[in-house]
Symmetry: C2
Subunit: 769 residues, 2 copies
């Protein structure tokens, strides 16, 4: 790990003491979001030190021109950039006309941040002495409302300590913001209208090219020692900014507070010309409740989320803090309310990666949402891809495929491919497999087969057609091969016969074929409708099956393992343990060509296949592959340690499983990858959740039955989690003495525990030891 | 071929008739250059139609910021861009105050361009009727002086036909030019000083970042019907431009002529603060001779070049025109006078590719210059790489190599890597092999071994060290493999065991080892000096040899051929002939991933190895490989058809050899690759020369003896060429009746003709039939 300043706490993320070096890191870690918007933990007052400003609106993006030396056919036309949105949290503060700026104060003491995950708020307090020797106490608390998700609220207070002082608050809106990450240093926003009315202000701005219109708004209230204060609202306006000016003489130990309500109304939810009206309504809803009631509602809303999603860990505060941080951030990013949205790799905490949707959603996030929310949430995520099927077919056509073959994008906002990374992303066609797998995974877990005849089958057919066309018959091997791909391990590029890709391609075809038969037999009218649309003949299905049944898989008989790709054994097979530690992380120390020819694996690749298809292999086979590949895995992708943690637990390598668990759960808190400043790794947080539920808990579905093989790290006293399985809510509590199962909702349920059938009945706590 | 408007002519490139669609193509084809500068055939007068303006100064470049999605270690820091230089040819013309602009005239008749290759000038004539109904005849002739290579001259005349007219000439200098090709739309030049003095004007400008200072200058003279005319010189100046204004009332059939002398003086040849003085001196030298004498000198200088370099072809005007166009353009680009310069892929005819030096120099250009010039020219080209050895070692260090391993850049201006094409160029390490091969080729041909102890051995040691470190021992194969490369065929990327690369790597090590022994024995003091510097032990050499002697070569026993790379036979081996012609060229019709997994070969790859090392293989082996690879070769690189032409001739496939010869020699004239607008393919023109001398002429060196196996296409009556072999100038004349050898310079020479020894003596024409 590379940092260690976050205070261990079961429910909060806490920083104590002011360190300018940690500001950008903490801005990421203390980020808040409510599914509709989010923001980095930037200071409200001015700050001239190093900072990374960020405020984001879900679904609002900019199609940045891509950067490439020489364009080639098939490259995406744009890179969808997560947009830094207009700022509404800003409050410029002056104390006797000196600007409050923590980078310029004489002293900063008792600086403390807390992100209270249980209740969903962020607080910052400090005492500071300005250059003018005025000493003040500052407290700021803010949250983004889960209930009224267009609104956030801030309570910002200053108390002079050693002298009276003229305190000026200049709350402002600023639409003149820029992205840190821009390919061509362009501006993304254009201001359309600025308006003030009483203690309310509005800026309507639109994104260039994508033409998203958003109204950024604010309303202010003032109090002095808890009593409402009515000062005149002086307004100043610039071309992209509007500010209110309030000035108050404050005595020592009096507290001058400004409440600022703000947020966004966006054209995806309102008419473009009604954004200010919508903003007024949102403000009316929020301010009529007031800060305290809004906050109380916030606590209750989060309590509801935690009720289902919480995982407790006893006897290991850092592990407990880690898992809650992961669950909290996932829920801050995506709540499943809006089926047009998805889960971006950095959520609302940074700009990196762009796009909102990667294969991460299907491979990592769906299990989390499927298990901790109503199954409709996971269904929405599946439907998101169904809605993009036409675009996936167009994308495949651009690359030379036909007949309805679908290639889903690696990175997308609206179904179009929009990545920015030719050398890696371009050939990662394996993503298509995860999208089909998620359909399988969803129906397996929820038992809701209806998704397949309604929507899923069309997706599966498009994907099967793609794999069929993408495979090449090798006369030399007398098998079908898949040439020129990049597997999940992005430290390889343009390899032949990546085992994971070939395996999932074969599986996709078989899965499609099986379901075509099933739908034909059981959902005749859906079958008719679909066949009308896709024009699929038995002959075509046979040609798919010819490919699937004759797929080539690289294998080493010597090692008894499938090979990650053709030629893997030609590499210089020095294990990571034998690599000079000064060479790590290799993505920062080594040239790209050296990484490519090395055996080092960025993230689970062959093992990702063993994770998805564990029941296709024996535990001995899993162990063989784990023991072969783990020593070459550098885990320089956030998506890697969780899979290894799950498999290590399965293989009873509990110390390893625990180490990987810490690495995945505290990846950002302890900054393992030296990049937390850029934002959090949101999607891999679902992997953390899996590493407990599927790893230590050993949760699987076996023949329609929920099964567990509970294990517990010796470092813990116990842990518990809940799952929503086919409308049963089951709480699992694991200790060294045994495991208890409690059915909180639903009818009698038969589960498997370590292979033994156990009946769980409402109100009847079952203990297995 | 894609165009057919160039008139066949033995000595000139001729266009007749005005077609706005062909302007950009002709601007490339009629380009002129003198080794020190060059320019596209842009019109002197204004032109509002589609045009690609270009004027270039040898060795002046701009380090453009590279464009890449996400940066990776080892990527070049900049892309050296060929710079469009300030324009000195411009003459704005008005006729009765109407601007002369061929895009706006009522009629353009008798439009004709001629590039006279024999004499080295470019002429354009036309008759036009303006919107004001004035009809005029215009004639413009210009050339860039070979003798005074900082100067060019233009004679521009207008004769009114149907009426008298006020003709205004506004000759100007313009430093406000931009590149068409810029990664970030930046300006590259900054104007420092503008100065007029009498009929002379000067603009000193410097390139941003690289700080090249150049003075662009002009001087004018006027004549009316051949009589000097002294009009007042009115001057107008803008921030980056200066113009003279001359106005004259001209009667019908009177000719009003402006002579414009212009060019560049550059800080690489003069002190920065003496550029204007140097320009004045250059102008003085030129104008004291006057246009006609300068032109006479130009004819004589070109006659001298042709005397040695010409290749005649009888009975096939298009073939004759093609080869002369290639020889002419090569000599316009590089004359071997300045050892700091090299041969850019587009010479002075366009901006594409950037950089001045590719492996093209060693693989294609050196044989041409070595054979048609004094051997010092080829030695200069070799020394260019010796001068860059330290940079090549630094470049290798950036990629993780050590101990003096040298990796030469794929694209360079000053020894630093500066390419712009990650997906292809990054792994083309085979370039290192061509650089060593050129040393071998030079010593083999010239007999000048002294280059090796003086400079070449150090280069060879650096290269051998690179290959030794770059190879990986594969336990699985019990051989050394070279992983993750791109061979000469740029339609593959990141392949393992590219046969060409592995073969040349092995050869480089053996060649270095042999020469270390030879220098040790025969050049003891050089050996001592070198060993002092490179610290090379016998043990290290042994470890090199271990790699060389155990190198792995992919091979198919079934086909009896070496495989281009591991896994080549897994591809869908449909020959180019069976490919739908609508899919061609695949680099314009197919997506990049589809190209990568196809079997199609952009340019000779395995066959490039057979070209370099022909004497390592039997003719039967060559034929087997030619027959295997040629059917998959799409020749979408300009460097491809020449090699296939040479090998087809060797294999007596004369029709094929002839077709490839036309394709290489008329690549630009007939625009085979649909891109001549962007500039000419200069370096491949040396390949055209090789396809006659080495292809049809069958010239080789066998055991220090010059040998020929002459063949003649049935389409030709005869052809002749000259070679400078070890200070013998030998003229070879091939007809269907036999071949004559004439020694124009040098002592008695024994050569091999079709394997039979033939003695050639001065003044004794030897005929072999």
């Amino acid at each position: 790990m590379n940092q260690n300043y976050i205070q261990p706490d079961n429910w909060s993320i806490i920083e104590e003491g002011f360190d300018p070096e940690s500001v950008k890191s903490s801005e990421s870690l203390f980020s808040i979001g409510n599914g509709a918007m989010g923001q980095r933990a930037n200071f409200e007052e001015n700050y001239t030190g190093a900072t990374f400003q960020g405020s984001y609106i879900a679904g609002v993006y900019y199609p940045d021109k891509t950067r490439v030396g020489w364009w080639k056919n098939g490259y995406p036309e744009y890179f969808a950039k997560v947009l830094n949105a207009p700022n509404w949290i800003g409050i410029k503060v002056t104390i006797n006309d000196e600007v409050l700026d923590l980078n310029a104060c004489k002293k900063v003491e008792e600086f403390r941040r807390e992100l209270n995950m249980k209740e969903g708020w962020y607080e910052r307090t400090f005492t500071t002495t300005l250059q003018n020797d005025i000493q003040i106490e500052v407290a700021s608390k803010r949250f983004l409302s889960l209930d009224i998700d267009e609104v956030g609220a801030i309570a910002y207070s200053i108390k002079p300590i050693n002298n009276n002082a003229t305190i000026k608050y200049l709350p402002y809106l600023d639409a003149g913001i820029e992205n840190e990450d821009t390919n061509w240093e362009e501006k993304f926003w254009e201001t359309i209208q600025i308006k003030a009315a009483g203690n309310q202000a509005f800026i309507v701005a639109k994104t260039l090219k994508t033409d998203f219109h958003a109204c950024t708004f604010m309303q202010t209230e003032l109090k002095l020692d808890g009593e409402s204060l009515h000062l005149p609202t002086n307004v100043s306006e610039k071309s992209t900014e509007i500010a209110f000016h309030y000035s108050q003489e404050v005595n020592p130990n009096e507290t001058f507070t400004i409440y600022k309500y703000g947020g966004y109304t966006v054209c995806s939810n309102h008419n473009k010309n009604e954004l200010i009206a919508a903003a007024k309504k949102a403000l009316q809803n929020a301010t009529s409740l007031g800060f305290d009631t809004l906050l109380q509602n916030q606590k209750e809303a989060w309590a509801k989320i935690w009720e289902m999603a919480d995982i407790t860990i006893e006897g290991d505060v850092k592990a407990q803090q880690g898992i809650r941080f992961n669950i909290f951030q996932l829920n801050q990013t995506y709540l499943g309310k809006d089926s047009r949205l998805n889960i971006g790799p950095k959520g609302f905490t940074g700009e990196k990666y762009g796009g909102s949707t990667y294969w991460d959603t299907e491979a990592y996030c769906i299990p989390f949402y499927m298990t901790t929310k109503d199954q409709q949430v996971a269904r929405n995520l599946l439907q998101y891809r169904y809605n993009h099927l036409e675009k996936a077919i167009e994308n495949a056509e651009k690359l030379g495929f036909n007949n309805g073959a679908a290639l889903y994008p690696m990175v997308t906002m609206n179904g179009e491919e929009c990545h920015n990374e030719w050398e890696i992303t371009f050939e990662e066609i394996h993503r298509n497999g995860a999208i089909a797998f998620a359909i399988f995974n969803y129906t397996r877990y929820t038992g809701d087969y209806s998704y397949i005849p309604e929507m899923g089958l069309e997706v599966m057919i498009g994907i099967a057609r793609f794999w069929h066309q993408r495979a090449t018959f090798s006369t030399a091997k007398d098998k079908y091969v898949i040439l020129g791909v990049t597997g999940p391990n992005e430290y390889e590029n343009n390899v032949n016969n990546n085992w994971y890709t070939n395996y999932i391609a074969q599986w996709c075809i078989k899965f499609a074929q099986e379901n075509i038969q099933k739908v034909k037999q059981e959902y005749a009218s859906d079958y008719e409708r679909i066949m009308q649309k896709v024009r699929l003949s038995d002959q075509e299905i046979s040609s798919w099956m010819e490919v699937a049944e004759n797929m080539y898989f690289p294998r080493s008989e010597e090692y008894g393992v499938y090979l990650q790709q053709d030629g893997f054994l030609d590499k210089d097979l020095v294990s990571v343990a034998d690599l000079d530690q000064k060479q790590r992380p290799i993505n920062q120390k080594w040239s790209w060509d050296r990484i490519l020819r090395s055996p080092y694996i960025k993230q689970a690749d062959t093992l990702q296949g063993f994770y998805f298809f564990e029941d296709h292999f024996t535990t001995q086979e899993l162990e063989k592959h784990f023991d072969f590949y783990e020593p070459f895995t550098v885990h320089e992708s956030s998506l890697s340690p969780c899979v290894h943690s799950i498999q290590a637990a399965k293989l009873d390598k509990m110390d390893m499983a625990y180490t990987f668990y810490l690495r995945t759960s505290r990846l950002d808190l302890d900054d393992y990858n030296k990049e937390v400043e850029e934002g959090l790794h949101i999607t891999s947080m679902a992997g953390t959740w899996m590493s407990i539920v599927e790893g230590f808990g050993g949760m699987r579905i076996k023949n329609d039955t929920l099964s567990f093989e509970p294990r517990i790290p010796w470092q813990w006293k116990g842990y518990s989690f809940k799952v929503n399985f086919r409308n049963h809510i089951l709480k699992i509590n694991v200790t060294h003495d045994g495991t208890t199962f409690e059915l909180e909702k639903g009818n009698d349920l038969v589960i498997l525990v370590d292979g033994i059938k156990v009946a769980v009945t409402p109100n009847n706590l079952v203990t297995v030891s």
